[in-house]
């Protein structure tokens, strides 16, 4: 019964990690004085909160994609969210409308991600193959088309525009405005809670769609709602923070090996653990080098080896046999 213990461990360690994250920054280690160093404190706090929210969104949607698509390699970007959002950001930058306001760029990325998703789902509905493979296939195709459009925009943009698009794609947790963070944060929290409420359906769906049907689940409706919620929070995360890889792929596996596969426990621990993981990675990205490293580099460098260690141990292997 290590699962229950690990669950509380994740829950208990998270506040410690987050406090540590607020103490870390390029201007020095230590908790900033709220009176004299208010800006620095707020800067670090918003980044930590942003990391928490984005990490929660990415790992929660990763959990759901892996369960519903029954594929260990599924990740939040699998249905084309990333390339759609990237295209939206590129459009905003190249047309110059991103300069009009702080909320424009994340909004453009988010809206384009949703449009891409709508196209992916519409294509999958018309497909004759079974729904899951149809979804993945149309996701791959639409992604490829979006990526090509993105490359086109990069190639015709000025050097500065190109740099902005690439910078955005590398991912960053610095939020533009509190209102964006509040809006996206509420959206993500609501999405995660919604997915948590679907725990028993998700549990049944991991046994396969037929078995879930036999257990009394409305399979089609559940799959649609779960995938929509998961892609919604993933798009919101991408809109704010750009493309941050590995969190949505690896955190679900790590959490599954720690707290077990029951989604009642898995979803909250993935949300909290994923948030703490991303916040910690960002703290390292800010402080490791004199110059900030893209946070996606840290998530990959930390997550990859950790994942391999877990793979060596029995439990994750079952996914990949």
């Amino acid at each position: 019964m290590h699962n229950r213990r690990n669950f509380w461990l994740v829950l208990g360690l998270t506040p410690l990690i987050l406090t540590l994250c607020v103490m870390m920054g390029p201007s020095g280690f230590g908790l900033p004085d709220i009176n004299t160093e208010r800006e620095i404190f707020m800067l670090r706090l918003t980044r930590v909160v942003c990391g928490l929210v984005i990490g929660a969104a990415l790992s929660c949607s990763g959990v759901v994609f892996q369960a519903v698509l029954r594929n260990p390699l599924a990740e939040p970007y699998i249905l084309g969210v990333s390339s759609g959002a990237g295209l939206g950001a590129a459009i905003a930058i190249v047309t110059g409308i991103s300069a009009l306001g702080a909320t424009i760029l994340p909004l453009c990325a988010f809206v384009m991600a949703l449009i891409t998703l709508a196209i992916v789902y519409a294509l999958a509905r018309n497909g004759t193959s079974s729904s899951i493979y149809g979804l993945i296939l149309s996701g791959v195709i639409v992604s490829a088309v979006c990526s090509s459009l993105l490359m086109f925009m990069v190639s015709v943009s000025s050097i500065e525009g190109m740099h902005s698009i690439l910078w955005w794609m590398l991912g960053n947790l610095e939020v533009t405005s509190y209102s964006v963070l509040t809006f996206i944060g509420l959206l993500i929290v609501a999405g995660c809670l919604g997915l948590w409420a679907l725990s028993r359906e998700l549990n049944a769906l991991t046994l396969g769609h037929q078995m879930a049907h036999h257990l009394g689940i409305r399979v089609k409706a559940t799959v649609v709602v779960a995938l929509l919620l998961a892609t919604l929070i993933a798009s919101a995360a991408v809109g704010v923070a750009g493309l941050i890889g590995f969190v949505g792929l690896i955190v679900p596996h790590i959490m599954r090996s720690l707290v077990g596969a029951d989604h009642r426990r898995l979803i909250p621990s993935a949300a909290i653990g994923g948030g703490a993981f991303l916040a910690a990675c960002d703290a390292l990205a800010r402080t490791l080098m004199p110059v900030e490293i893209p946070v996606g580099v840290i998530t990959a460098l930390l997550g990859g080896p950790f994942f391999l260690i877990l793979l060596k141990r029995r439990r994750v292997q079952n996914w990949l046999e």
């Binding site: 028993r200 549990n203 078995m211």
Partner: protein
Amino acid sequence: MTSRMTPAIQLTSITAKYREHAVLKDLSLTIQPGEMIGILGPNGAGKSTLFNCVSGLLTPTSGTVKLFGTDLRKMPPHERARAIAVVPQELEIPVPYTVAEIVMMGRTVSIGRFSSPSARDRQAVERAMVYTDVADIRQRPLNELSGGERQRAIVAMALAQEPRIILMDEATSHLDINHRLEIMQLVERLNREEGVTVMMISHDLQMAAEFSRRLIILHQGQIVADGPPHSVLTEDTLRRVYHCDVRVCQDPKSGGISIMAAPRLPSVGTGKGIRIHAVAGGGCGEATLRRLALCGYTLSCGVVNRGDMDAEIGAVLSVSLALEKPFSPISREALQVAREMAAKADVLVLTPIPFGSGNLANLELLDEALTAGKPVFIASGIENRDFTLARNAEKSILLLLSRGAKLYRDVAELLTLLPAKLSD
């Protein structure tokens, strides 16, 4: 009181299609509560489709499915899950659920969305685990267990649903004989003690006969036999459905039925050294030629048209062929070649080919063989394959039969009729 009267499962003339291809054709079936039924049939007979219709995975294109008198289409999923549980052949579970977690999934619809399992749920799970003897391994992840233990856990999940019907879809076919028996005895006990209706698909005829009190054989989407094992498992039915020869024996003491492969030529005899001339064409002789060649007979065939499917099969099996030009009626010259082949043959066989005016001449070969005193075998059912205007083929064949030619129904029967040498 109604449950006594209403059938557990009632299918009324259902037709089910898979990609425009009818898999079940106008099938009706009534199963009473407490029955234990085995569903048999070759691959593609529609067994799984039947299960999918009963479990609601597939909606028949016409006809109704009723469970305990309620139309399945009007039954909400959670009610359906309480009525019927399915044990699949194999359940691939990609995540490391423990046995207890898996069994608890049987209670999926009973546990509220925002609540934890009630005492009632825990009791059902506990009971299911004790029944299937997995209580001791409840904390082990499922994918670390042996095949038998896994399958028991899956059965336990089905039991935790507390269903009134259990469908077993080849649920034991991957298991060793000991685990297979274990699961079957478990299900039998459930059926006896709890009155659960059990419907199982099996490829193991003997086990199905042993555990079921009623057997149903499906063939090409229709029920071809329905009744107690001894009346369903007849050599005749099995030959017709499975296209193979079996011997069915009933133990006079226990009443148990045993099914053995009937003596086949390759095992007890061989056709080596025996020459057969076959009259084929249009691909209808394919199966016959192949089986005869496998049994070691030396074959010749003709007259067939060049490019005909049977001519090509014959060439592959190195059968001597008497050939005619493509799409041409049989010429004197070609018939002469065939006649020489037939003269060397010990036996002549007429495969189930259709006749038109073009290939009618082939029947002369058979007539000559009878005159020469050789055995001649003719595929039955000529009345459906005679396309000559005056039904000349049918008349000729009736004449041949009156002169001593023998009819056969299928290749399996033909093989029992043909002469053979004892193998070493």
